[in-house]
Symmetry: C2
Subunit: 315 residues, 2 copies
C-alpha cells in the first residue's frame, strides 16, 4: 500500500472542508481558524522498527526525534512552534526508568524549541514502541510558506547537506543525522520574514529530495531540472556510497530523513549561508509538461527522470 | 507500570510551563493561547488488542471510536470541537480497501461532530493497528469546565447509564457501548452554558467511575460519598453481572469506557434529563480527609473505600 494513495483518499474531501480550514490537508502542516487565530498543526509518528531501532538507539535520541520530526514540518511552513501533545504506546515491560528518560527527552526537546508538551496519552501493549506527536504553531507575523507557489524561472535551493542520514559519523562522535538533526525553524523564519529572500514555496525533506521535490512540483503545477553536480553531499552520503557502491549523488537525491528544507525563490536573491547554515542552489523550476516532472542532469551529462529514484521509507 | 505515575512525571514540569498554557496537563484537555485565542487540545490512541479487536470489530466502528474517544474529552470540558489530525500505523498487508473504509469512517464521524480531519500521517509496520487522533476545540462563549472546582456540599451527577460497555446488546441490535457511544458534547454545552446548571467541575468516564471520580476529587481537593443504590445501571452491566457473578453496581462503578460525564453542582439545580439524556444524582461532595477519598455506600449499608475497586484498562 502506498502512503500517498491513502493521503489522496483523505484529501478528496477537501472541497467539503469548512471555511475555517485555511490550509487544507496535503501541506507540511494544516491550518484552521480558531477564535480568530490561524492555528497550524502537524502530526508525526516515531515507531520502533520503522523510524528508530529501540535495541540500538539511545532512548534520549528516540524522545528527541519524536519532537524534532514534527518541528521540521513547522520549519517547512516558516511557522513558530507554540505547543505539543504526545501519545505513547509502550511495550509491556518497557520499564518506568526508560519511560521517564523517554518523556524527559521529549519534554526537554520540546522546551528547547519553545514548544511545551501540554498533554498526552500513555498506554502499554504487547507490541513495539510507538510515539505520536502533534505540534501546533502560529504564523507570528510571517505568512506560512506553502508547498505550492513555485514560479517558472525560480531557482531551487536546499539547506545543509544531503544523504546518508542513517550513517553514524566519527565527527561529531556518534552523530547520526536522522536522530541528531536540527530542525531549520530559525533559518526558515529568517528567509521568509525578509521580502527579498522569502521563498515562493517550501517543503521539508523527509522522504528524499527526489520524492519531496516531486511533491512540491506537483502542488505548484511546475517541473524542475536539477544539476547533480551541485548537490551538497554530506560526509555521511559519501560513506554510504562507499558501502553501497552507488554514486554519492544518488544518496543525496534518494536517501530520506534529511530534515533539511527545499525551497524555490527568484534567482540571485538567496545568500550562500543563512543563520550559519549553507544554502545551495541546485537547479531551476521549468514549465510542467503533461505531468509535474523532475529531471536530473547526471555527471555524464545525461538527463534522467527522477521519479522512481525516490527512497522508500523503511517499513 | 502505572499510567498515572508517568503522567505525574510529565506534570511535574507544570511550574515551568510558559504563560501561554492556560490549562496545564492533567485535565481532559490542555489549552494554550495561540494568536490571542485559547485552543484546547486532547490526544487519544485506539490500538488493536487494547481498545478494539481488529479480528472481530467492524472496521467502521474502529474508525468511529478513534474520533469519539477524543470527542468525549471535548465534552468533559464543555468545549466545541473544531478540527482533528490523525496518525495511523497499519499492519503490513492491511489492504487498501480496509484502509479506505477506516479513514472514511474517521472522516465521516469527525464531520458529524463538526470537527474536520485536516491532516494526518500514515505508516505501515509489522505490528498491530494503532490510530492516534488529536482533536482541537475552542470555548465558543462557554468557559471550559475543569476537573478541579468541586465544592463541599455539591451533588455528584452522572449522565446516561453505566457499566458493561464491552457487552453486545440485542437491542439496538449489535450495539456495543464502547464502540457506539455518543460523546456528550451537546449535553455538556447545555449544562455549562446556563448559569443555573453550570457544573463546578467535570470529567469523562473512561477508566470507570471509581477511578475517574477519585481523579476529580484529587484535583478538587475534596472527597465524595456515593450511594450505590442510586447508580444508573445499564442493561449491559446487568448482563455483565450475570456472567461475572459480581453485583451490577460493581460493574457500574468499576467498568471502564462508559464515555459518560461525571460532574458536580450545587444540589437541586440539575434536571433529571438534559437534551434527552438522563442525568442522575449519585452522591455528594464532602471535605477531604488526609487524602481525597471516595467512599461508596453498599446495598447492605456498609461504606467502603472505592480506591482499588477501579477497573484497570485492558492491556
Amino acid at each position: 500500500m502506498r502512503e500517498l494513495d491513502l493521503l489522496s483518499h483523505i484529501y478528496r474531501a477537501n472541497p467539503a472542508l469548512p471555511d475555517g480550514v485555511t490550509i487544507p490537508p496535503g501541506d507540511d502542516m494544516g491550518a484552521m481558524a480558531i477564535g480568530g487565530a490561524a492555528v497550524l498543526v502537524t502530526v508525526d509518528q516515531v515507531a520502533d522498527g520503522v523510524h528508530v531501532d529501540l535495541a540500538t538507539t539511545p532512548i534520549e535520541k528516540i524522545g528527541r526525534k519524536a519532537i524534532t520530526r514534527n518541528l521540521s514540518d513547522v520549519a517547512a511552513m516558516a511557522a513558530r512552534p507554540v505547543g505539543a501533545v504526545a501519545a505513547a504506546s509502550l511495550p509491556t515491560g518497557f520499564g518506568e526508568d526508560r519511560a521517564e528518560a523517554l518523556f524527559d527527552a521529549m519534554r526537554a526537546t520540546a522546551k528547547d524549541y519553545h514548544c511545551p508538551l501540554i498533554g498526552g496519552d500513555i498506554s502499554t501493549w504487547d507490541q513495539r514502541l510507538i510515539l505520536t506527536v502533534t505540534v501546533f504553531a502560529d504564523a507570528d507575523g510571517i505568512d506560512p510558506v506553502l508547498r505550492r507557489g513555485a514560479q517558472v524561472g525560480d531557482a531551487v535551493y536546499v539547506t545543509g547537506v544531503l544523504g546518508g542520514s542513517l550513517v553514524e559519523l566519527d565527527s561529531p562522535p556518534g552523530y547520526v543525522h536522522h536522530l541528531d538533526f536540527t530542525p531549520r525553524i530559525a533559518l526558515a523564519r529568517l528567509l521568509a520574514g525578509d521580502r527579498t529572500t522569502r521563498p515562493n514555496c517550501m517543503i521539508d525533506l523527509s522522504d528524499g529530495l527526489g520524492q519531496d521535490l516531486t511533491r512540491l512540483c506537483e502542488q505548484s503545477g511546475v517541473g524542475a531540472e536539477l544539476d547533480t553536480s551541485r548537490l551538497p553531499i554530506s560526509d555521511a552520503a559519501k560513506l554510504a556510497a562507499q558501502r553501497s557502491g552507488s554514486p554519492p549523488w544518488r544518496h543525496a537525491l534518494g536517501d530520506g530523513e534529511d530534515y533539511e528544507l527545499c525551497f524555490t525563490a527568484p534567482p540571485n536573491r538567496i545568500p550562500a549561508s543563512v543563520g550559519g547554515v549553507p544554502v545551495t542552489s541546485i537547479g531551476r523550476i521549468i514549465a510542467a509538461g503533461d505531468v509535474a516532472r523532475v529531471t536530473a542532469r547526471l555527471p555524464d551529462g545525461k538527463a534522467v527522470d527522477m521519479e522512481g529514484l525516490g527512497w522508500e521509507h523503511r517499513g
